[in-house]
């Protein structure tokens, strides 16, 4: 399967099944487009046939000389022979084994506090409570969660624990004790914990920053961008904005992180479809590692992203990508989460097929110790998997998630992005279609554009 597009003047060709990516000139691009219409995916390389070449001559003779077309055809044949163009999908058989696999748990999202000190208008957690009751996780429940993770992680060494909420700093003492407990178990069990924290920053102070800089491999700092954008959607309960309090704390925190990861992470809504300005605002504030995500909201919410918003949103990603390249070349670049792509040392195909691992490798734990497939399913009783005392008891739902891969999704089969997004977010799929094996179509369009931009950026930066 071939996917080709022009972005920022770059002609990009993806051979989806091999993962090969080529930046081409217009001639090569045009010849490939003709061949893509008549050459079937190849299990093994073969020479292009006389009929296939004839199609190229017929369709492009008005635009290019025959010698030029032969030249491009020769290059294309070289890539076919290297199995980097017109390759077949050879992974379907792999998925059969995949269904039989024994999965292990390697990551937990600990809902350390179901309470929040902000009242963000779009909160999928219902202002921290997840449509349930306000609650804090006790150390005992958290300890059982870490024990459950160690016991169910098989031979995996790297274990991930995200302190999430609500707002986790509202239960900070338990966070510290759990980190201490986790560290005390590493040597005995040959495990390495990677702790991360997702915070709104309201309660951040020097002691917390110091602790995080020692113990947290990544911190996710929630902020939406420009002051008016942030304060409209992220107010305190009394209605006042949070920007002025949060930004100086986040600047200090980011600066102090050294080589440890952090991300300033925003949410954009229908209210700020010009969100590239918010990303650049982050960069102008001095932040280097940035992310902004489309809001996840029911269609009736006034701030939800709608299909008619897509042209503007896609254009914003293009604008952001151009500015990204420009700033990088000027020596004042930044990282944008969705433009990060590892073309050479990226994930293996097993990872790309299985996706985020929700419900199998990745689970969310509520303050009282219930297990859910991920943080977005918390509070949906049909998806309750078990608890930290008894482990996973609802194996029916667990097995549904186990089978959730790109080949289980009709919409993904012919999509060029399937090995990059791995079939998308199960929670988004469920929220919009009532099934975890469907796909959230508006989200797909944005994802595809982000991947195209990320690859264009690679081409632009390689083009000194």
């Amino acid at each position: 399967m071939i996917h080709q597009y022009i972005n920022n003047g770059y002609h990009i060709i993806l051979d989806v099944n091999s993962g090969s990516v080529h930046a081409a000139d217009a001639l090569f691009y045009d010849v490939t487009a003709v061949l893509a219409g008549c050459v079937a995916d190849m299990e093994k390389p073969r020479p292009l046939s006389a009929e296939e070449k004839a199609q190229v001559y017929e369709r492009l003779s008005g635009k290019y000389r025959k010698e030029e077309l032969d030249d491009a055809l020769s290059d294309i044949q070289e890539l076919i022979d290297a199995e980097e163009l017109f390759t077949a999908d050879v992974y379907k058989d792999y998925v059969v084994d995949f269904k039989k696999r024994q999965t292990v748990v390697k990551a937990l999202c600990l809902h350390i506090a179901h309470d929040c000190n902000l009242t963000c208008r779009y909160c999928f957690a219902g202002e921290g409570e997840y449509h349930g009751r306000r609650a804090m996780m006790s150390f005992e429940v958290g300890k059982k969660a870490l024990d459950f993770l160690i016991a169910n992680s098989g031979n995996r060494v790297n274990l991930e624990v995200d302190f999430f909420g609500g707002e986790p700093l509202m239960n900070w003492d338990v966070v510290k004790k759990l980190v201490e407990y986790g560290r005390s178990q590493e040597k005995e069990h040959n495990k390495r914990f990677r702790f991360t924290l997702t915070t709104n920053g309201v309660l951040l102070n020097d002691e917390i920053m110091d602790f995080c800089n020692r113990e947290m491999s990544n911190v996710v700092l929630s902020l939406d961008g420009r002051k008016e954008v942030n304060d409209r959607m992220r107010p305190f309960p009394n209605g006042s904005g949070s920007y002025d309090l949060i930004v100086p704390k986040f600047q200090k925190f980011a600066e102090s992180r050294g080589d440890r990861d952090y991300f300033v992470r925003g949410t954009f809504t229908r209210n700020n479809l010009d969100f590239s300005k918010d990303v650049l605002h982050f960069a102008d504030l001095g932040f280097k590692k940035l992310s902004i995500e489309p809001v996840v909201a029911p269609p009736e919410a006034p701030y939800s992203i709608r299909e008619e918003d897509l042209p503007q949103i896609l254009d914003e990603y293009d604008k952001l990508a151009k500015e990204f390249v420009k700033r990088e070349k000027e020596g004042r670049g930044f990282r944008f989460f969705h433009f990060m792509i590892d073309l050479s040392q990226g994930p293996c195909v097993a990872k790309r097929l299985s996706g985020c691992g929700s419900g199998t490798e990745y689970l969310a734990v509520t303050p009282w110790g219930d297990l859910y497939p991920c943080h977005q399913f918390v509070g949906m009783e049909d998806f309750l998997l078990g608890n930290v005392d008894d482990g996973i008891t609802n194996t029916k739902v667990r097995d549904e998630f186990k089978l959730c891969n790109v080949y289980a999704k009709e919409k993904c089969r012919d999509c060029f992005a399937r090995f990059y997004c791995s079939g998308g977010c199960a929670a988004n799929s469920y929220n919009f279609h009532g099934s975890i094996t469907d796909a959230y179509d508006v989200g797909c369009e944005m994802q595809k554009k982000r991947i195209e931009c990320a690859i264009m950026i690679k081409a632009a930066l390689a083009d000194a």
Binding site: A24, T196, E293, H338, S344, A454
Partner: protein, 48 residues
């Protein structure tokens, strides 16, 4: 090769041979939490 530059070669098929160790980061633990982005994760397989 005069008309194209390869930015990434045949990485997916090769990764079938030694892939699947599972040591890599879970995507939602990084920064997204509301979408699924796997292509930007890095491989952490020491035997690759």
């Amino acid at each position: 090769m005069k008309h194209a530059t390869t930015l990434s070669s045949n990485t997916l098929k090769n990764s079938m041979k030694k892939g699947g160790c599972g040591e890599c980061q879970t995507s939602c633990q990084s920064a997204c939490k509301t979408s699924c982005t796997v292509g930007n994760q890095s491989c952490e397989n020491r035997n690759r």
